[in-house]
Structure formats: structure tokens, C-alpha cells
């Protein structure tokens, strides 16, 4: 089991290294330079600035320097953010994205599971159909449509929630719904289909023959066996919620990381591109890693095969 975890961890590091390298190469392959568009600079100033940022050195050397700094968790200094370090920029803005992300994740899992379970238990009845219509709608409407709609309905017309900003707990409601609608729908469909399958399994019949009431059968016997695909999806969901928040943050004027993620590419702000990309990558890989570990707890059968894998 320790070998299983260690294996997954090493794979995570390898993926991260590959990603850093790919980003670095791609970034430099894109035409344009962070300094080219500066107005009215003499050739000498250009040269000085390039030297300051180390852009005059050959690419391989730049890459080496970057890796060395990265090993010390130093993401360098932004070229456009008034000479603030990338670490600072991320530290200041990530809190907003993280809080919104966590709220959306929790909303997705709870609402998705609830809808899915209800649909599975009322299979082919009215509630099932209603839940699935809702789920299809949730999947079909992208968040950039959902968000303005929610703003218009609940902030402008009904005035129940503020239109933008992220200060009090009420402010989270609309962005969280907009951000999680797709994943709620996805999880609901996932849980529904797995659960319908699990509910027809032999061991459910055994549980019934023991005289357990319906809610205990679902809770103890069916739910855990239906959770595995959801756990797999959680890793992906984290990615979805974080990158999805780029759009949502713009619409709801939330000072999160999403703004920098887009702006830095337009600016060719090399350190910030690398910094935000690596940061997101670490988040995604870490969530995948956690999902892999979560399997161990959801399904005991993986524990044994994991043990075998480790020898």
C-alpha cells in the first residue's frame, strides 16, 4: 500500500516535470516577447532589460536557471505586474479562487449525489424524469450563459443576491451555482446510472433478504458501491472548477487568479505564464493523486491489488 502511494507520487513528479518543460518550450515558441511592445525604448534599454530578466542568454541556460529557481519554490518576478514576484501575485489572488472552488466542489458533490440517488430510487418515475431533465439542462447550458442568467434573475429582478463581488457568504451563492451546474448534472447522471446497476446486484437482494429497510440498503450497500466513478470524476472536477472559474471570476468581478491566467498570456509575461501554469498543474496533479488515494478507502478491493502491485 505504501508502494502504491509512492508510485503514484513519483508519477505525479514526472508529469509535473514534463509539463514544466512543455510549457517552457511552447511559451518560447510563441512569437513576440514580453519587452518588444514597450514604447519608445532605445536598443540599449532593450538590451539592458533583456539582460535584467536573463532573456539574452541561450534558451537552454534560461531553462536551467528556471528549473533551479523552481526547485527553491521561486517562480520569479512578473514582468508586467509592477515588478511584483509571481509568488506574491498567486498568494494574493488564489485565496478567492480556492474558496469559490471549494464551495462549488461541495455543492456539486452534495447536490449531484442527492439528485442521482433520488433519480435511481424512483427509476422511470416522475421524480427520475424531472431530475434528469434538470441534469440535461445543467449539462447543456455553459457557465457563461448560466452566470448572466442567474445574475439577471436573482440579483437584478429579485434582488436576493448581490450582482458581483465576493465579500459575505451570500455572495458565494450565484457564482457557486454557475460554476457547479455542469458538474452537478454530470455527477447526478453518473450516480444514477451506476446506482441503478448496483441496485440490481445480487448483494442488494441479500440485504433485502436480511430484512433491512430501503433507506439502509441504499445508504449502506448501494451508495458506497456507486461512489467509485464519482471519486474518479472528482480529480477531473477540481480541474473543471478551477479553470471554469476563469470565466466565472470575470463575470462576477471576483479578484481571483483567473484574470492573471488569461492576461499573462496576452502580455507574454513569461514568469507569470510559467507560474500560473505550474501552479494549476500542481493543483490538478495533487487532486488526481488524492483521488487515487481516496480509492483505497472507498473500495477495499483496490487495497489488495495495490498491495500486489507493490509486491
Amino acid at each position: 500500500m505504501i508502494r502504491y502511494v509512492l508510485n503514484k507520487f513519483i508519477f505525479m513528479l514526472i508529469s509535473l516535470f514534463a509539463l514544466v518543460t512543455a510549457t517552457f518550450v511552447l511559451m518560447n515558441a510563441v512569437p513576440g516577447s514580453p519587452l518588444r511592445e514597450e514604447k519608445a525604448t532605445t536598443a540599449q534599454i532593450q538590451k539592458n532589460m533583456e539582460a535584467y530578466y536573463g532573456l539574452d542568454k541561450p534558451l537552454v541556460q534560461q531553462y536551467g536557471v528556471y528549473l533551479e529557481k523552481l526547485a527553491h519554490f521561486d517562480l520569479g518576478i512578473s514582468m508586467k505586474q509592477r515588478f511584483r514576484s509571481v509568488n506574491q501575485t498567486i498568494a494574493q489572488s488564489f485565496g478567492y479562487s480556492l474558496r469559490l472552488g471549494i464551495v462549488s466542489m461541495i455543492t456539486s458533490v452534495l447536490a449531484g449525489c442527492a439528485l442521482g440517488i433520488i433519480a435511481a430510487m424512483r427509476h422511470r418515475k416522475l421524480l427520475d424524469n424531472l431530475a434528469m431533465i434538470l441534469a440535461v439542462a445543467g449539462l447543456a447550458v455553459p457557465s457563461m450563459v448560466m452566470a448572466p442568467l442567474l445574475q439577471y434573475l436573482f440579483a437584478v429582478k429579485i434582488r436576493a443576491f448581490p450582482v458581483t463581488g465576493l465579500h459575505g457568504p451570500l455572495d458565494y451563492v450565484l457564482p457557486a451555482i454557475a460554476l457547479s451546474s455542469v458538474s452537478i448534472a454530470f455527477i447526478a447522471r453518473l450516480i444514477r446510472s451506476t446506482m441503478i446497476e448496483v441496485l440490481s446486484a445480487d448483494f442488494i437482494k441479500t440485504a433485502k433478504a436480511k430484512g433491512l429497510p430501503g433507506h439502509l440498503i441504499v445508504w449502506r450497500h448501494a451508495l458506497r458501491n456507486s461512489m467509485l466513478p464519482v471519486v474518479t470524476y472528482l480529480g477531473y472536477l477540481t480541474a473543471n472548477v478551477i479553470t471554469g472559474s476563469v470565466i466565472i471570476e470575470q463575470i462576477f468581478a471576483i479578484p481571483g487568479m483567473g484574470k492573471f491566467f488569461v492576461q499573462c498570456v496576452i502580455d507574454r509575461d513569461y514568469p507569470l505564464i510559467m507560474g500560473t501554469t505550474i501552479f494549476y498543474a500542481i493543483l490538478l496533479l495533487a487532486s488526481r493523486f488524492l483521488a487515487d488515494i481516496a480509492y483505497l478507502f472507498v473500495d477495499p478491493r483496490i487495497r489488495i491489488s495495490a498491495g500486489r502491485m507493490g509486491g
Binding site: D202, T206, A209, K210, G211, P300
Partner: protein, 337 residues
């Protein structure tokens, strides 16, 4: 002997595309206290459906109980509300299923699955239930029960899983144990062990058993009485001795002929029953076995025979045994056509 279970004129059908499959068509039988009864028949004869109807485990829809009554220990099971039925399941009637590989929850420890019933029906504390579960596992012959109890089903072999299933079914000492093909999915050597275990446990607990099987060979070991089902009906019932020594229905005879015997000559082939059972969406008007029966007469095609009592314990549903059947009529279909 007091009657424990009394099934009267039970009919069960399943709604399917294009009609209704009449899986069980008016069967009646009784099980007395401490008795072991076998229900024998081929796939689709309605024996498992009967068992699930007694436990009320049929999915409704598509399943539907068309008529009849099931009386167990004085209560009408078909009229019980679901909540009351939950108190019967597991506590008064235990059930063992065919495939031990899929009948246990893979994400729960074996112990937890045995304890569930005890906590539910006996209101035991978790500690007491655990102690009892260890005893039960030891009773069904699993060594090192105290450590085995916290293992998961995938740590158990097929035979051990079926033993664990038996422990689950017997946890609350039910008055009736229904075993639905309990050995079909097991190796032959394990089959014998499981049957011996069930026999031993029945002797100890004096519970009644309904053993559902398509294998007449395992019936001889365990049961006092045999019910032979065909196409949703009972065609013959009798004591074990009567069914094996003196079978009267052509179907029962056919089943016995298709079994290998130790004293049989090596080159003597087994005789199969040719043909297939009738489609139960539109059951034939006469005897359902008629199209496969070597001794069928004209009346067999048009009228369903009634039961003829041959002894205190044996009765058969066949025109050949009808008191008014004339011997010259019994020449088979070939003679009349």
C-alpha cells in the same frame, strides 16, 4: 406436526414486451415444522420465482402476484405491509442465494454483513453482535473466525463465501431457511461440504428448509420430501423414497433417467428429455409436458390433468394416473395419430 408455511394456489407473472409471462401458475404446497422440502425443476420452471414470492423479493413491476395466498406462522405474507414484512425477512425466514461470488457486498467486511441482521432484529449491541457473528462463522466451519470476521468477501474463496452466506441467513435463527440453488455455483467437492453443513445445522436448529435445485442428486442428501415443478406448475410431489423409487410422472421419470448412476454400465448412455419447455406467455391448454412426453395421449393436448393421489404423501398431475384412464389408451401419441 404443525404447518409452518402454507402456499395456496399461488400465481405469479411478469409483464414483458408483448404480454405476460405466467411464471408460476397456481401452485399449492405446505411445509411443516422441521421438515426439509426440495423444489426441483429445470430453468424457468418457476421454482426461484416461488421462493422470491414467499420472501416478497420480486421486483414489482415487472413481477406481479396474480393470486393465491402465502401463510407463514399464521400470518398472511401477501397482505403484510412492507414494514412488517421486513421483520419477517431475515428474522423468521432466512435465504441463501445461488452465487456466493456476487451475493456479498464487496465493500463491507464479512462480519459487518453478518452483524446487520442481528443488530436490526435482535437489537443487539455492536459488541454482542460481533461476538455472535464470530460464533456463527465458527459454526459454519470457517477457521480463525475472530480474524476472518474483519476481512472482506474477496479474501474468501467461493465455498467460504457460501458458508458466510449461510451464517448471514441463520444469524437470527429463522424458522424457515430458503436455499435457492445454494450449490450450483460451487465445485462438486465443495457442494458436498455445503450440503453436509446445511444438514448438520438443520439437525441442530430444527428449522425447516426449502431447497430449490435443478439437481436431483443433491436432493437425496438433504430432503424429506420432493416437489417437482414444470412450466410453473407442480407435476408431482412425494417423499424422497417415493420420488426416487417410484416416480409416476413422465417428467420425473425423465429427470431421473438423465442422472448418471454408479451401478450403470459404462457404455449405457444417459437419456435426455428431448425438446424445450412451452412458452409461458401463451401456455398450452393441456398438460404443459405433453409436447415432450413419450406417453402423451389425445386428452393431454386439450385438458390440464388434475392431481391424482397415489398415497398419503404422493400425488401426481398426469392423465396416465387418472383413475378413469384405460390401459389401452396409454399407448402414446404415435398410436393415436
Amino acid at each position: 406436526m404443525k404447518t409452518l408455511l402454507d402456499v395456496k394456489d399461488l400465481s405469479v407473472s411478469f409483464g414483458v414486451y408483448g404480454g405476460e409471462v405466467q411464471a408460476v401458475r397456481g401452485i399449492s404446497f405446505a411445509v411443516t415444522e422441521g421438515e426439509a422440502v426440495a423444489i426441483v425443476g429445470e430453468s424457468g420452471s418457476g421454482k426461484s420465482v416461488t421462493a422470491q414470492a414467499i420472501m416478497r423479493l420480486l421486483a414489482v413491476p415487472p413481477g406481479k402476484i396474480r393470486g393465491g395466498s402465502i401463510t407463514f406462522a399464521g400470518q398472511d405474507l401477501l397482505a403484510l405491509p412492507e414494514k412488517e414484512m421486513q421483520k419477517v425477512r431475515g428474522r423468521q425466514i432466512g435465504m441463501i442465494f445461488q452465487d456466493p461470488m456476487t451475493s456479498l457486498n464487496p465493500t463491507m467486511t464479512v462480519g459487518a454483513q453478518i452483524m446487520e441482521g442481528l443488530v436490526r432484529h435482535r437489537r443487539m449491541s455492536r459488541a454482542a453482535a460481533k461476538k455472535r457473528a464470530i460464533e456463527l462463522l465458527a459454526t459454519v466451519g470457517i477457521p480463525h473466525a475472530e480474524s476472518r470476521i474483519s476481512q472482506y468477501p474477496h479474501h474468501f474463496s467461493g465455498g467460504m463465501r457460501q458458508r458466510a452466506m449461510i451464517a448471514i441467513a441463520l444469524a437470527c435463527s429463522p424458522a424457515l431457511l430458503i436455499a435457492d440453488e445454494p450449490t450450483t455455483a460451487l465445485d462438486v467437492t465443495i457442494q458436498a461440504q455445503i450440503l453436509r453443513l446445511m444438514k448438520e445445522l438443520q439437525r441442530q436448529t430444527r428449522s425447516s428448509i426449502i431447497l430449490i435445485t435443478h439437481d436431483l442428486g443433491i436432493v437425496a442428501d438433504l430432503c424429506d420430501r420432493v416437489i417437482v415443478m414444470y412450466a410453473g406448475q407442480i407435476v408431482e410431489t412425494g417423499t424422497k423414497r417415493e420420488i426416487f423409487r417410484n416416480p409416476q410422472h413422465p417428467y420425473t421419470k425423465g429427470l431421473l433417467r438423465s442422472l448418471p448412476r454408479l451401478n450403470q454400465a459404462k457404455d449405457e448412455p444417459l437419456v435426455p428429455i428431448y425438446g424445450t419447455p412451452p412458452d409461458l406467455i401463451m401456455p398450452p391448454p393441456g398438460c404443459p409436458f405433453c409436447s415432450r412426453c413419450e406417453e402423451a395421449m389425445q386428452i393431454c393436448e386439450t385438458d390440464v390433468p388434475a392431481f391424482t393421489r397415489l398415497s398419503e404423501t404422493q400425488s401426481v398431475r398426469c392423465w396416465l394416473q387418472h383413475p378413469q384412464a384405460r390401459p389401452e389408451e396409454c399407448g402414446g401419441k404415435g398410436a393415436s395419430a
